[in-house]
């Protein structure tokens, strides 16, 4: 049994708590998502643990549902970026030649525009719905996944054991799934963690700017936006969802770091 370092353990626990809360939001939330249950910006009390929001909805309830939306959008966009990015990345590395050139130059081009700016440009003409958000974020971020998976696979393709498999006469399926993939998996899993964090920050930022999840639904970024006016009056309601974003990001980061460290020590390990 492997020893899990404390930081990774904390990360794992927090991450699971957030994901469980997102999955069971309907059971956990004390009130309805859009239900006005009190005064504007009530302080925290036994009925409303985190107080109420800018129009008197229970903030804890909003937070739980907001987490659900944030995590759902981020997860979907991460999956999309991974499927697109890694398939194209592996293809480029294994095929080489003009396929690699064409894909790589295309990715260079998309990455020459900052991700947030590109997303804003596209969202200025597209209807801002959840599928569109997921598609836009997932496709823009797939360029980063492409770069990583292409680099990882290109490093493995030149290994003598891959050459040995080719000399044996193995088909591409064996080469990709049995020789390359097992060795590329760990860096990709760690990267998935980092990409997920980036997606959480991305959707939160878009919603905060008013260009992400649209009311009456709200993700954490949207809840920050709804309550930001309160800051000037000394009301911290906007800080709670922001802190939730940060802690989720940090916990996933801790887990990803641990996975990455385990991989590198595996590579360097000699019995």
């Amino acid at each position: 049994m492997m020893r899990i370092p404390l930081s990774a353990l904390i990360g794992l626990i927090l991450t699971s708590v957030y994901f469980l809360a997102a999955i069971f939001a309907g059971w956990l939330a004390p009130y309805g998502m859009a239900e006005v249950v009190g005064d504007v910006w009530e302080p925290s009390s036994a009925e409303h643990w985190l107080g109420t929001d800018s129009i008197g909805r229970d903030l804890l309830t909003r937070m739980i549902y907001g987490g659900q939306i944030t995590i759902f959008v981020a997860t979907a966009a991460t999956i999309l970026s991974f499927v697109t990015g890694s398939i194209l990345g592996f293809t480029a590395a294994v095929a080489g030649g003009w396929v690699d050139q064409a894909l790589s130059r295309m990715v260079d081009l998309i990455m020459s525009i900052p991700a947030l700016i590109f997303a804003l440009v596209v969202l200025s003409v597209m209807p801002v719905t959840m599928p569109v958000l997921i598609a836009v974020m997932g496709l823009i971020e797939s360029t980063r996944v492409f770069r990583l998976s292409r680099a990882v696979a290109a490093d493995i393709v030149v290994m003598d054991y891959v050459e040995a498999a080719r000399l044996r006469g193995e088909g591409s399926a064996w080469v990709i799934f049995r020789e390359i993939l097992p060795n590329a998996l760990s860096p990709l899993v760690a990267e998935a963690g980092l990409r997920f964090i980036f997606m959480v920050l991305f959707i939160s930022t878009l919603s905060f700017l008013g260009l992400g999840v649209q009311p009456p639904l709200a993700d954490w970024g949207g809840i920050v936006k709804e309550n930001k006016e309160g800051i000037v009056y000394g009301i911290a309601a906007a800080l709670y969802p922001a802190v939730a974003i940060a802690t989720l990001a940090i916990s996933v980061n801790l887990v990803a770091d641990w996975i990455l460290n385990r991989t590198t020590s595996l590579k360097g390990g000699r019995g």
Binding site: R3, D160, L167, G169, N183, K267
Partner: protein
């Protein structure tokens, strides 16, 4: 600034003790993944003494602690290594626990260092001359022009081309062999008492090594400096040292004069080292049909302007060994790529068991592929780190013979016995094997295909001599048992002598000389073969001088 004070050139008269190390213990902290840090002992209870003007050779396999001991005479621990006990007395001064000021006055002035890789050890953004005279100017109180004049003298003495101007170049503008000499000049320039040579010729080609070695030896003699010469190659150290110390696992095995160690070793381990590469192999006469025939092969990599191979023709008989020998850039590994189909040639053909092979890999039948196997130099990267030994050896059985389950496992066990590893190895991952064991597993993987020919590409050059010896003996045994033929690619003549039946000498993409071993290795020689053969260090005293005296062709000046 006491760093800049002029250090007297010599306290010690000829024949007196310069360096005295007693009971040296060196430790380090290891961080195994997923386990608490461990203290490990790298060097334990080593003592040595060195007189002024003498050369002591430190020899041992990797992990013997020889570099660590060498650097301890500068009181330097590389990579967090700690000198934990013992005395290191240099010029009558204890330096193991000395402060940084004392050490600064010592390092680079009284004791200097020549590293294995000069290419990495020079600052890439400064001119060579600035680096060579750096400590001479700073610490010896010598003017810049005097120091440069001394450097140029040393450049000339070390046989560097254009000694007046080579100092104006940057490291990347000079070849590896030349850079190694410049580094020697850098070490000698401040007129040190002691120079530490840490494998200074190991990374060089054999014909270049001999020139650098001769230059180093002459420079040591002329300047009267003492030296610690660290290497894994006993034949090399025999040429330059007065005394030799044999090390193993951080402990001293034997210490004596060079003559005694070479000609009358007392310890078993030393005897093994001296007798390594003395495998007796009777040359087999070519019999029957050739199993592999290469005719008129010309090849180049796409994008290159010149041919890597031109008009290469060789042949291999069943159950025999053809050694293809040459230095880096001779095209010998490219020949292997052409034969295996990885690089289709622009002209010529490869015939295997009487049938002509398709030039490209994907045109070959499964039997063609099965009967022609390959073993690589770096066993580390020749095996998928995520597969167990059982999968690695079992896959060819499955793939070529359709073996499954118990039948396959039984055959894997048999093969493991054949390569002299037990069945316990079947469930290990490559990372859990030593270098020699990895190479054995690669051999088993090749054997599993029941091939007629195995191409061995430098299979022993990454291994320590004794381990390499074991691999060669295994290959010879397997050849007798399985009647398999080897195409053995190597740069090492000693290996060739040990196993070849016939030899092809390659030089700049052409076959320079080809025939049965006894003919190729017998005079009259062509100029290149002569240079190559004469450059291989022999384990006897006075060999270096003889060779330098008698050579006909200059090495390429690397």
């Amino acid at each position: 600034m006491n760093d800049d004070e002029i250090v007297p050139v010599s306290h010690v008269a000829e024949g007196e003790t310069l360096l005295e190390i007693t009971g040296l213990r060196i430790e380090a902290t290891a961080y195994p993944p997923g386990e608490p840090p461990q203290e490990i002992v790298i060097v334990d209870g080593v003592s040595l003494s060195l007189k002024k003007g003498k050369v002591l050779g430190l020899i041992g396999e990797s992990g013997a602690g020889k570099s660590t001991i060498g650097l301890s005479s500068m009181a330097y621990g590389r990579g967090g290594v700690r000198l934990t006990a013992g005395d290191i007395v240099l010029n009558g001064q204890e330096i193991r626990a000395a402060g940084p000021g004392v050490l600064r006055r010592l390092r680079g002035k009284v004791v200097t260092y020549v590293a294995q890789s000069a290419a990495a050890s020079f600052n890439p953004s400064r001119k060579l001359m600035d680096q060579v005279i750096e400590t001479t100017v700073a610490a010896r109180g010598v003017s810049r022009s005097q120091a440069e004049a001394r450097a140029v003298t040393l450049f000339r003495k070390l046989g560097l081309p254009d000694p007046e101007r080579i100092g104006k170049r940057y490291p990347h503008q000079v070849s590896g062999g030349q850079l190694q000499r410049v580094m020697t000049a850098m070490a000698l320039c401040p007129e040190p008492e002691l120079v530490i040579f840490d494998e200074p010729t190991t990374a060089l080609d054999v014909t270049t090594q001999i020139d650098v070695l001769a230059a180093i030896k002459e420079a040591i003699a002329d300047t009267g400096v003492a030296a610690l010469y660290i290497t894994h190659d006993l034949a090399v150290v025999a040429q330059v040292s007065d005394e030799i110390m044999v090390l193993r696992h951080g402990k001293m095995v034997e210490h004596g004069t060079t003559d005694q160690i070479i000609n009358a070793p007392r310890e078993n381990y030393t005897r093994d080292l001296v007798s390594v590469r003395s495998i007796d192999h009777e040359e087999k006469a070519p019999v029957g049909e050739t199993v592999l025939k290469v005719e008129g092969i010309t090849a180049r990599y796409s994008g290159l302007k010149r041919d890597i191979l031109s008009d290469v023709s060789v042949a291999l008989h069943p159950g025999q060994t053809l050694a293809v020998v040459g230095e880096s850039g001779s095209g010998k590994s490219t020949l292997a790529r052409v034969i295996t189909g990885l690089l289709p040639p622009s002209a010529g053909k490869v015939t295997f068991s009487g049938r002509e092979l398709s030039p490209a890999l994907n045109g070959r039948s499964r039997d063609d592929l099965r009967e022609l196997q390959m073993i690589y130099q770096m066993a580390d990267v020749a095996m998928n780190p995520r597969q167990t030994v059982k999968t690695i050896i079992g896959r060819p059985l499955e793939f070529y013979f359709g073996m499954k389950g118990k039948q396959r496992d039984a055959r894997v066990a048999e093969l493991l016995e054949e390569i002299e590893l037990g069945q316990g190895f079947a469930d290990r991952y490559p990372a859990e094997l030593s270098g020699g064991q990895k190479q054995r597993v690669c051999i088993a993987r090749a054997l599993a295909a029941e091939p007629k020919v195995i191409i061995c590409d430098e299979v022993t050059s990454a291994l320590d001599p004794l381990v390499a010896d074991g691999i060669l003996k295994l290959l010879l045994k397997l050849q007798r048992e399985e009647d398999v033929a080897y195409l053995f690619i190597t740069h090492d003549i000693a290996t060739v002598r040990a196993i070849a039946d016939s030899i092809a000498v390659m030089y700049q993409g052409k076959v320079q000389r080809y025939g049965p071993k006894s003919e190729v290795l017998a005079p009259p020689f062509d100029a290149y073969t002569d240079l190559l053969l004469s450059s291989v260090p022999e384990m006897r005293l006075g060999w270096l001088e003889e060779v330098v005296e008698n050579r006909r062709m200059e090495s390429a000046g690397h």
